[in-house]
């Protein structure tokens, strides 16, 4: 149970948590893979670390983690109340294409266009995510399914816009025209890290603040732990669902807009979704039980692993799939809450108290809803 208890001793908690064991376990499995394929584990892992945190790599890690952390936080926000948003891709892509359209057509000076793009992207993501919430509130179709199914048409729609109305006639790629000069987020020095990272970090900080310090955050957490308790206490669940989804979609849309306002300053069909950041972000959120700090850290870790893996592939001959495998194994271990201590616990508590995230899994069987 990774609920953030109010008595904070973060390091102790991390050490007692399954994190170290899981990372270690994954490294061991990875070592076996490396040895089996005749590679040197030390060099390989060294290349991962160097690639992710070395002087040349840290910039890439930070710019990669902009999207991953952003999406992780986006998905963690409703997850904190037990709502799974599987439509991050669609919301992000709509945010991106909206930002691109606004950036291309807004008759304003660049300084004003940039925030307008961000806001428009957030609004598009929010509206689309809210649609999934409305489907659950109005029609009773589980959010998990509606958000997932709605995602595909959104991606298709954005793809259509990028290939026809907003198409860059000079390019063979399905992409919009390049945004006018200056319609871009400022970059830090010569790196690829943009102001987007600051925005995402601000969102994560705001999430942390709301979660730990405000009555609203408290209500969200309680809803996640027991939604019937929440309704009993007067928390309006449909409204909360709508709001959380809207915020979630807004953050996903922000990530899309940030992606468009960074190099190469246009919306390219498929480029926002190709790296699977939505899944990585969802994993980070799920693993941390949507706790803000844990979510952000897990997202950063996954981003670093990915960037480092690419460097490993460049330096050694080990395929970068290895880091994908490592990531998945860490997740499997973590999800199974593999700690050395847990076995004893499990034996003494048949009613698993480890139901913190309560991912509201929809009941497929009709009979189950009679209660």
């Amino acid at each position: 149970m990774a609920t953030e208890s109010p008595n904070p001793s973060p390091f102790g908690r991390v050490l007692r948590s399954p994190v170290p064991f899981s990372v270690l376990g994954a490294l061991v499995v990875g070592t076996l893979f490396l040895l089996a394929t005749g590679s040197d584990p030390v060099t390989a892992y060294g290349a991962v670390v160097e690639g992710a945190f070395g002087a040349d790599g840290i910039g890439s890690t930070l710019s990669s983690s902009t999207a991953v952390i952003g999406l992780a936080v986006a998905l963690a926000i409703p997850l904190r109340a037990g709502l799974i948003n599987l439509g991050g891709d669609g919301q992000m892509v709509l945010g991106g294409i909206t930002a691109a359209a606004v950036g291309l057509y807004a008759p304003l000076p660049a300084v004003l266009t940039v925030p307008l793009c961000l806001l428009a992207g957030m609004a598009a993501g929010a509206a689309y995510a809210a649609l999934a919430a409305v489907c659950q509130n109005r029609f009773g179709v589980p959010l998990l399914v509606t958000s997932l199914l709605l995602s595909y048409p959104a991606v298709s729609f954005a793809s259509y816009l990028a290939r026809y109305p907003l198409k860059d006639p000079a390019s063979s790629l399905p992409q919009t025209r390049r945004l006018p000069a200056g319609v871009a987020l400022p970059e830090f020095g010569t790196s690829t890290v943009t102001l987007g990272l600051v925005l995402v970090a601000a969102v994560a900080a705001a999430f942390y603040f709301v979660d730990t310090r405000t009555p609203a955050g408290y209500e969200i957490r309680m809803t996640g732990l027991n939604s019937r308790f929440a309704s009993y206490a007067g928390i309006d669940r449909p409204r909360l669902t709508l709001r959380l989804m809207a915020v979630s979609g807004a953050v996903a849309g922000l990530v899309g807009a940030v992606g468009v306002l960074a190099f190469p300053f246009r919306f390219t069909d498929g480029s926002l979704t190709a790296s699977g950041d939505t899944w990585t972000g969802l994993m980070a959120a799920l693993l941390a039980s949507a706790a803000p700090v844990g979510t952000a850290l897990a997202a950063l870790f996954f981003a670093a692993l990915k960037v480092g893996g690419l460097n490993m592939e460049r330096v050694t001959e080990v395929p970068s799939e290895l880091t994908d495998i490592l990531q998945a194994i860490v997740i499997v271990f973590l999800a199974a809450r593999f700690t050395l201590k847990r076995r004893r616990r499990a034996a003494s508590s048949p009613e698993s108290p480890a139901q913190a995230p309560t991912p509201a899994v929809p009941a497929a069987a009709p009979e189950k809803e009679t209660a």
Partner: protein, 539 residues
């Protein structure tokens, strides 16, 4: 009719079972003869359920032996116990709501045809058993649609279908009304007369005194007393359970009613017809009735969890008919729900967080609109202290509390709102005698501080002991209203069975009151003394 062979049906010798930090059973001996109804009593956490789990093969004892009909047994799992003729009805129902009654009954002992479940045979078998033992159920009904009383019958049918000779029932009447409990005891007595053995865990002295042959009392995991029911009193049992003298079923003095706080006029919704009532400040109004006669609907409608179709509700002078739960609470309503574990708390959240609910936007919110952790914690400490909640720390999950302490948590939190109106549902269900005393005192004190209390309970003694006025619900209507003096158990029992209401149209067609129907038909007079507690009459 009841043969008395040499060896007892069940004999447990020197059972020891320890959990980390607790010795739940400490050298417990228990002997139950064939054909008897044997009651097992004790406060919350005394070790009753653990002992029964050991007998049923769900827990392995650390030491000790179990003999069944004189032969030593050791069950690796419940299926062995079932095969040996044991059957258990658990504290909370263990049923499959989406399956039919027949499917629930034959589960894991299915009649087969061509290797498949013979559904016709299952239905037939269920109907036959039901008829044989006077357990009225429809084999094709979905269990999820049934009222609790009928579910209890399904549980018993499950045991009978498996040919259980020794029936273990853990708090079977906790959710039943007196009438339902009476008909259950009639069934149990019939089974005992056939030579089966019944082991009964309960907190209710009345049932023990009227329904059992012998009593074993546990305290802190040890046997505190072995008593013959015929030769003991409620006080003696209670003293053995608690280790001190307990004032049983006290009639609390009445209050001094003031202004009307809750006004309900002609409230109607599915399951509730034209209900009008009022509760005044300084008054406890009890709502009695057989489960399923609209009490649940009434409470949920008042709390804002169920929409009204017509009528009017006012709380503390404010019209709240269409208001949300939050708005009603703001208007001055606090509510202790029936299901403390699933509705009244979030088990995975800490005790402190559970205690903060509802206070988090009021007293605990800082001037800048934040919710400081320190405030949540000190609020929790204060309530833990004030209501005697046994929790090692405010940070432990609420799910780690025992039922009684969880109930104190919920009641304490709601009382702390100091809301003009408190709605309390089944405040002492499954709670031991000591805790009941405490909860009752709190409710009376709350009333005496000038608040209005609407108490819904299936426990007639509780209703009578606390209420200034009593309303009886029957088929979704207020069937009768009595002052505290007029509300004796006989009158209430009659009204609950529909005896006070003008006979309406189709009679008792609702799903709930079948047992009531039975008792009215057979002998209304006979069922009434059965509902009174001897201990109380002495006072």
């Amino acid at each position: 009719m009841t043969p008395r062979p040499e060896s007892p049906a069940v004999e447990m010798r020197g059972i020891v079972k320890a959990f980390p930090g607790v010795v739940a059973n400490d050298h417990v001996d228990l002997t139950v003869r064939r054909g008897e109804i044997h009651a097992l009593m004790g406060e919350n956490g005394a070790g009753k359920s653990t002992l029964m789990s050991v007998l049923y093969g769900m827990e392995r004892p650390d030491s000790g032996t179990v003999l069944l009909h004189g032969r030593e047994v050791s069950f690796a799992d419940p299926s062995r116990a079932i095969a040996a003729g044991l059957g258990m009805v658990h504290q909370s129902f263990k049923l499959f709501p989406s399956l039919t009654v027949a499917e629930n009954v034959v589960y894991r002992a299915e009649p087969r045809r061509f290797g498949l479940v013979d559904r016709a045979a299952a239905r037939r078998r269920t109907a036959e058993l039901a008829a044989e033992h006077g357990l009225d159920v429809d084999p094709d009904a979905r269990v999820g649609d049934l009222p609790v009383g009928v579910r209890q019958r399904v549980e018993i049918l499950k045991l009978l279908h498996r040919g259980a000779q020794v029936l273990i029932l853990d708090e079977p009447t906790a959710v039943l009304t007196p009438a339902e409990a009476d008909s259950l005891f009639a069934v149990l007595r019939g089974l005992a007369d056939q030579g089966r053995t019944v082991l009964l865990v309960t907190h209710k002295l009345r049932e023990v005194l009227e329904g059992s042959d012998n009593v074993t009392v546990l305290r802190d995991g040890r046997v505190a007393a072995r008593l013959r029911t015929a030769a003991t009193t409620a006080e003696e049992i209670a003293a053995a359970m608690t280790g001190r003298d307990v004032e049983l079923d006290r009639m609390h003095p009445g209050g001094t009613p003031g202004e009307e706080v809750l006004t309900v006029r002609n409230l109607s919704l599915p399951g509730l017809t034209d209900v009008s009532l009022s509760v005044r400040a300084g008054e406890i109004v009890g709502v009695a009735g057989v489960a399923g006669n609209g009490q649940g609907e009434l409470v949920e409608a008042l709390a804002g969890l169920r929409p009204a179709v017509s009528g009017e509700v006012r709380v503390a002078g404010r019209e709240v008919t269409g208001a949300t739960a939050a708005e009603r609470r703001a208007a001055g309503l606090a509510y202790v729900p029936e299901d403390r574990g699933e509705v009244g708390t979030a088990r995975a959240a800490s005790v402190a967080e559970n205690l903060a609910m509802g206070h988090h936007r009021k007293g605990l919110r800082s001037r800048r609109g934040l919710l400081p952790g320190a405030a949540v914690r000190s609020h929790a400490m204060e309530l833990i202290e004030r209501f005697g909640i046994k929790a090692s720390s405010p940070e432990i999950p609420a799910g780690a509390l025992s039922g009684g302490n969880l109930q104190k948590l919920v009641i304490g939190r709601e009382l702390a709102h100091e809301a003009p109106l408190l709605i309390v549902e089944q405040p002492t269900r499954g709670v031991d005698i000591g805790a009941i005393e405490n909860i009752h005192r709190q409710l009376v004190a709350y009333r005496d501080a000038g608040h209005a209390v609407l108490l819904v309970s299936a426990e007639l003694s509780e209703i009578r002991g606390l209420s200034d006025r009593v309303l009886v619900m029957y088929e979704g209507r207020i069937a009768a209203e009595y002052d505290r003096e007029a509300a004796d158990e006989r009158t209430l029992g009659l009204a609950m069975a529909g005896g006070a209401a003008p006979p309406s149209g189709g009679g008792s067609g609702a799903s709930g009151p079948r047992p009531g129907e039975e008792s009215t038909a057979s002998a209304p007079a006979a069922s009434v003394p059965a509902a009174s507690v001897p201990a109380q009459e002495k006072r």
